[in-house]
Symmetry: C2
Subunit: 446 residues, 2 copies
């Protein structure tokens, strides 16, 4: 039988068991609910983009999955397509393509799979969910938007109930201005930014070495590392920034912007213990130009950033179009979900979304069972009818394994009395109930 | 500026405007809700499968999208992957792979995009949503399941509110047995089945010609076409089938099964005007072996089948595993949605999911606006705050264009009185309301 196929998992393309998918789905629903609570509107872009579009954003070529056909197919106009590797390039293309039909500022959310040909390693996926919100302005966009993002982040992670988290906020202009003030060339600034970005990961010694190799003087390196490592309260950090004798326009602009954003965040009522200014966060992506965010779990720093984003000057620059500034955040949900599950921070529940299993004691009574199912479903109670002709004990085992809350049992006795037995599968309690009272009885003990 | 990219739609990969996506999403939610109401559990399989797996199901090679990398990447283990073209092959692979971890009968739903390299033509998409349910049994599966599918179909299309629909039910064994009885060879039976499948589309003359070319005698062709075209009530059709002098085991088995399924459908309370026996439906897919379904809109026959499926003997045959019979249905939602929209049978509403827009009359009052937003959001009312510094008139225009129900307006006067104005954007009515009453007031007129 060697010509039969053997089904195997494909590395980097995660799949979940039903109970895991139910949990993941409930988190996706909660995220969506919060996005909508803030007035973000849904769009969904196709999984594919023209390859030229994806390259224009300067992504890693080797990570882009292109499409082909199993057999040659001429006369085809869908050559040169590739799967999107994020939702930002598609957003930019969508906004330019539908410019006249959209309302600006355009507040959209997208919850979709993206594909990236990463090397397989723990926690790295090749297919994963991104949950993104962005506000895109037509020519301008006030700093109020920068403050709203942490408010959405706060609501989502509070509701996700995964312990204390910290929203790190920074403004990219501050560090850039600081480097400029120290006389670093613009190429050198980029290198130094990347070095600071890795500071927490690789440590001070390694960062010092990297910066020295770029020709930065030892004293300057110390200053920069000290500056990026400041760990004070929000007010103290703002005071410190104000007192810095850094006479650089970009730096001062960054400090001003950060102060305004922090002020608005306070107005929005984000609890002070949930966020801090972290001058050391940089966000690798080059298109961020102002405010940046990174959120981490305080008790699980190893999970890394669970949500990040920032402000960019011009979303649609590679279309040569009008200037469209934006602010956005992204939750890489698959990675987060898989790590939370692995660490036991979230736990799966039932492998059914239905509450009630109607058992089939007697094939001749099926229409009675169907009748009960219809009653329950019509009153909004999710209900499965068991069809296999197994012993009642086996049916109850199936019910317990899948995690139903109630089993409904009816034989000839019950039918003659126009009643059922409701078995609470958690407590084991079993009650006779008149058929007319089934829905209210289940609702009562739900 | 010729090196700037021009964003264009890609043929066959549909995208919607926000108001369309909101409508599509509400339909997807409704379908999911109904799947869960019947106890189907969600799974999601990866977008890709090993190419060998997809070929094994004998699909059209030219329609399969394979994955490659933009640049060569050796040492990779994700060669030979392709995008799934349906959700049935993935289900089969998933069931075999997770056999020991699943409860049988396994009732799952999947609502996912699939990809098929179709020739571009109106209503044909290369990327589209499929909404599938299947029940897969371990060795056996009672005919009750065959009757439950039309019940789910009925609930969904009733709620979709798209006019009268007809669930056509048949059993493939009946026509196969009928052909056998007439002495057709098994190859000839398949050809005749395909001819009958196209009968409604191409007409009697064309079908007669096709069958004649296969060497079927003129009288037999007439008999077959008459048989497949029978259009009587359910009871009359069953009576006719019982009275047929067709002495063929497969035929009789098909009639028996059909009778049982119809009986269970009645027990389930599916209204008789919503379904009929249609001996002429065949379902092109070769793996259906018993009951088959096709649903059509009575007032819009041109849309064709909006939901179809059936019973198959063995889902996992190409894995050489134990016998796993199943019954399933599939809604090709993207095609249906696009046609309903085009025909004006469904209409888009607002391009926002939020009810309330809080206008920004005065930048200095932002914390007051944020406060109102938090009050509303905390009581579950989706709310957007307008951030741009435009005139109030422009802000209200934005609110009307996007379809908000209410605008909230507050200047210094309102703030001093701890109040707001609520403007009903449908009626134009405008009322002063105390800040404490905002939520209850909005809820009241919602």
């Amino acid at each position: 039988m060697s010509n039969f196929l053997k089904p195997e998992a494909i590395s980097g393309f995660p799949e979940w068991l039903p109970e895991e998918r139910i949990l993941e789905q409930s988190i996706l629903d909660m995220i969506r609910e919060n996005f909508e609570k803030y007035g973000f509107v849904p769009i969904e872009t196709s999984a594919v983009e023209k390859t030229a579009m994806l390259i224009a954003k300067g992504s890693n070529d080797r990570e882009i999955y292109t499409l082909g056909r199993l057999s040659n197919y001429s006369g085809d106009n869908d050559q040169n397509l590739a799967l999107h590797f994020d939702l930002t390039v598609p957003l930019a293309r969508y906004v330019v393509q539908n410019y006249g039909l959209l309302s600006f500022p355009f507040r959209r959310y997208q919850i979709q799979k993206v594909w990236r040909g990463e090397r397989p390693q723990s926690g790295r996926f090749r297919e994963f969910y991104q949950c993104d919100i962005d506000v895109v302005g037509d020519r301008e966009l006030p700093l109020l938007v920068d403050a709203e993002m942490p408010s959405v982040i706060y609501q989502i992670f509070k509701q996700m109930n995964i312990g204390k988290f910290m929203i790190n906020v920074n403004n990219k202009k501050i560090l850039q201005g600081y480097f400029s003030f120290y006389g670093l060339s613009s190429h050198c600034i980029n290198e130094a930014m990347h070095a600071i970005d890795k500071l927490e990961k690789v440590g001070v010694a390694e960062t010092r070495k990297t910066m020295a190799e770029k020709g930065i003087g030892a004293n300057t390196i110390d200053d920069i590392i000290n500056f990026a490592s400041i760990n004070k309260s929000i007010n103290e950090t703002m005071e410190y920034l104000r007192s810095c004798k850094v006479d650089n326009e970009l730096f001062l602009q960054g400090v001003d912007e950060l102060e305004q954003v922090i002020g608005h965040m306070n107005s929005l009522g984000i609890p002070q213990e949930s966020y801090k200014i972290n001058l050391g966060i940089v966000r690798g992506l080059d298109y961020y130009t102002g405010t940046i965010y990174e959120t981490t779990l305080i008790d699980y720093p190893g999970i890394g950033s669970i949500c990040s984003g920032g402000r960019y000057d011009n979303l649609t620059s590679f279309f040569g179009d009008k200037k469209m500034p934006g602010v956005g955040i992204s939750i890489g949900l698959t990675r987060l979900f898989s790590q939370l599950l692995k660490a036991g921070i979230i736990k799966t529940g039932p492998s059914t979304t239905a509450l009630v299993l109607i058992t089939s004691m007697d094939k001749n009574l099926m229409s009675y069972y169907f009748n009960i199912a219809t009653l329950l479903r019509d009153s909004g109670i999710k209900t499965e009818v068991y069809f296999d002709s197994k012993k009642l004990g086996d049916q109850l085992k199936y019910a317990s394994k899948k995690g139903f809350r109630f089993a409904i049992i009816a034989g000839n006795d019950e039918v003659n009395k126009n009643s059922v037995q409701i078995k609470n599968l958690e407590t084991g309690e079993q009650n006779f109930v008149n058929l007319n009272d089934v829905c209210s009885e289940v609702s009562k003990i739900m």
